[in-house]
């Protein structure tokens, strides 16, 4: 019983980790993409459609990643190419993604596919204590590796340093001769791919079917998670498991008739995020501060 619960929590955390890691890189470069939910839905519907049509989960995942990137490119065109307001454009992207994914997915509602297999043989799951951790799929394990690689990239490589620098002061980065827009384009596309992959995980693994608006707010939780993690990759994993636990408790609680109102539980991730923001501003640590040029468009004067 407990094993099943842990497994569900872990699987719920995976899309949060993926989407939040992508968004973390985007925000570190100085761009806030509030269109996470929209990009995830586009990834989800494409992944489902391609898997349903071809029967290949691999093609499905790939389609999810590509459509996430394409959706992010629309965002990039506006906020980087035309220097539009990032908050407004991001919100518009969510509305756009929700609508378009619903339209594309209308014919797929009610169909089912076979989800991703577990990476290790089924009976590994029976091992006490660690069974749940061995019953996951390849994407789940990859997500941890991706977080590690993103950490190495951001804090151990020169390119990562340039990306962080662009988020702190784009004018300084520009005057040192770095192409701020190029850096941000790469970050935004990476964020889109991660959001697409995160979206693809939902119909391919979590619930092997498509339904309209199936992300049900996970994009927003992932956005809160980036702040919760104070822009540090490793903390995304703890945060995602915490937020995943809250989500599952809410469902489990409803099933068992707990007296805690589910609305209160679902507000917990956001309350935790606010608490973290307060802590950040009290401690005033430079390492964990928000990128100071977040949401500020870069316009080069020549």
């Amino acid at each position: 019983m407990i094993d099943a619960l842990i497994l569900t929590i872990l699987m719920t955390s995976v899309p949060l980790v993926l989407a939040a890691t992508g968004e973390l890189v985007v925000e570190r470069s100085g761009v806030l993409n509030l269109g996470l939910e929209g990009m995830m839905l586009m990834g989800a519907v494409s992944a489902f459609a391609f898997t349903y049509a071809t029967g290949s989960l691999f093609i499905g995942l790939l389609a999810g990643i590509i459509s996430g990137a394409v959706t992010a490119a629309i965002f990039g065109f506006f906020v980087l190419g035309l220097a539009t307001n990032q908050v407004a454009t991001g919100l518009a992207l969510t509305i756009f993604g929700t609508g378009l994914s619903g339209l594309i997915g209308a014919d797929f509602v009610g169909n089912a596919i076979t989800g991703l297999p577990t990476l290790f043989p089924k009976h590994f799951g029976d091992i006490p204590f660690i069974g749940a951790f061995l019953s996951l799929d390849i994407v789940a394990y990859s997500s941890v590796i991706i977080v590690f690689l993103v950490w190495v990239f951001l804090f151990k490589t020169k390119t990562g340093l340039i990306l962080r620098a662009s988020g702190i002061s784009h004018d300084s980065a520009h005057s040192l001769g770095y192409s701020v827009l190029k850096v941000r384009w790469c970050a935004v596309l990476f964020g889109g791919m991660m959001a697409g992959l995160s979206g693809a995980y939902l119909p391919l693994m979590l619930t092997p079917h498509w339904s309209e608006g199936m992300t049900s707010g996970r994009g927003w939780i992932a956005l809160a998670l980036v702040v919760f993690a104070s822009w540090m990759p490793s903390r995304i994993i703890y945060g995602a498991i915490l937020f995943g636990t809250i989500t599952i408790m809410q469902l489990a609680g409803q099933a068992r008739g707990w007296t805690i109102p589910p609305q209160l539980l679902s507000s917990l991730p956001y309350l935790a995020t606010i608490l973290v923001l307060v802590l950040i501003s009290i401690r005033g640590s430079a390492k964990h501060a928000a990128p100071s040029n977040l949401t500020i468009p870069f316009i080069s004067s020549k």
Binding site: H174, S175, A286
Partner: protein, 511 residues
Amino acid sequence: MKPRSALLQSHDISKSFGSFIANDKINFNILEGEIHGLLGENGAGKSTFVKMVYGLLEPSMGEFFWNGNPIKIPGPQEARNFGIGMVFQHFSLFPTLTVIENIQLALSETQPLPELRKTIIEKSQEFGIFVDPDTYIRDLSVGEQQRVEILRCLLQNPKLLIMDEPTSVLTPQESQQLFKILKILAKTGCSVLFISHKLKEVKEITQRATILRRGQVVDTVISSEVSTGQLAKMMVGNDPQNVRKKIEHKSTKILVKISGLCRPANTPFSTPLLDINLDVKAGEIVGIAGIAGNGQSELMEVLTGEWRSKDSIDVLDVLGVDIRDYSPHRRRQMGIGFMPEERNGHSAVMNMTLTENTLLTNHNNPEIQKNSIIENNNLENLTSNIIHDYDVRTPIQNPLASSLSGGNLQKFVVGRELIKKPRVFFVAQPTWGVDIGATKFIRNAIIELANEGCGIIVISQDLEELFELADSVSVLFRGKLSERKPVKELNSQKIGLLMGGEDVSFISRGI
């Protein structure tokens, strides 16, 4: 000794923004190992020029020659490849990164961190610049931040180092330290382009200097062969007009009367005002000296009406009216003009146009606002009158306040108040950070206003300014105002002692 060859030559370099010509055929050269001054008033085109050398702006016309070869500098990366380094007036550092990370970003080749740390320490010893590689930039003082910038440039082994107004943020001691570094650097064969509007510095540190005025080169001179007076004349265009003499006022009519003003400190960082008494007669200029943070901004807020209280002030009468609970707007309607210290954001809104900034203090004028509708023609006329009468130089018709240089914006803000011929005028730091020409202009305008019978309070840290303007001076020290003395009985040493709180008789009274 063999003649030194020109490292960088500027040939007919021009830059225009729309119809505004910022640089007009700039011709001069910088020799190898030379400290070359680029002197000019705010808005003369110095920053525009160096931005072109560093590849941040593209010249509209003309060519640069590097060691005699024509070159194009499309961007900062290319500039650095040539060996051009630049220390900006507003630094290009990343506050939430460490010193070593900031330096790493500026280097083209990637060095492992331990090795880089070693190189940094070696270089800092060579030039006597000491900074801890692992501190965050935001925890450093301004002077230390500048040293990081310089160190960062030095690690790229530059052949030409551009320093844009480097001393504007430094204390005199820090400036001296900087000059030492620059001299060592020049000895190693690196050229320095030193941009400044401070004459003494340019004479002290540079070998030759090129003077810019209104985007054109006036002359290139050997610094040791000219006097600061000659430099000033070339920079401003004519003999900087001396400040007019003030007429002795004979009026006995008191325009401003303040007594028993006690203002408690409302934050841990503000200074309480302790029993301030002051009166100003028609045609009189009262100067208030003091080191910043001794209650100047608190006093100014009382005068403008940003802070109001009936309980803490016994008397605050202006033109015979009790204005203790009058808002700034109502005070303006009475004919009081005021100009707070901070022009960026306090006396002017930076991302509004000059016309809009004019509207902000003139909307109660029936000429400007009729039946709640703005009379745009009248407003534009008023704005262009201010621009014309107060010699505000604007890059375009009706620009944003932020696009004016400090001196020009200050002239605009002064003009906006004075064009209304106020009967009482309160002003703080009228010429802070403003070039010579604009300073003289503003001081003359204030004196002229007093000669017409206006009562004026000038709060300033600049003693020279107070000696030129004021009839009498008081010193504000820890919220307490010293006894007022006629300017004739004072010298800077006496005021200096008061500013440091040395006057025993006045300390023992009250505190």
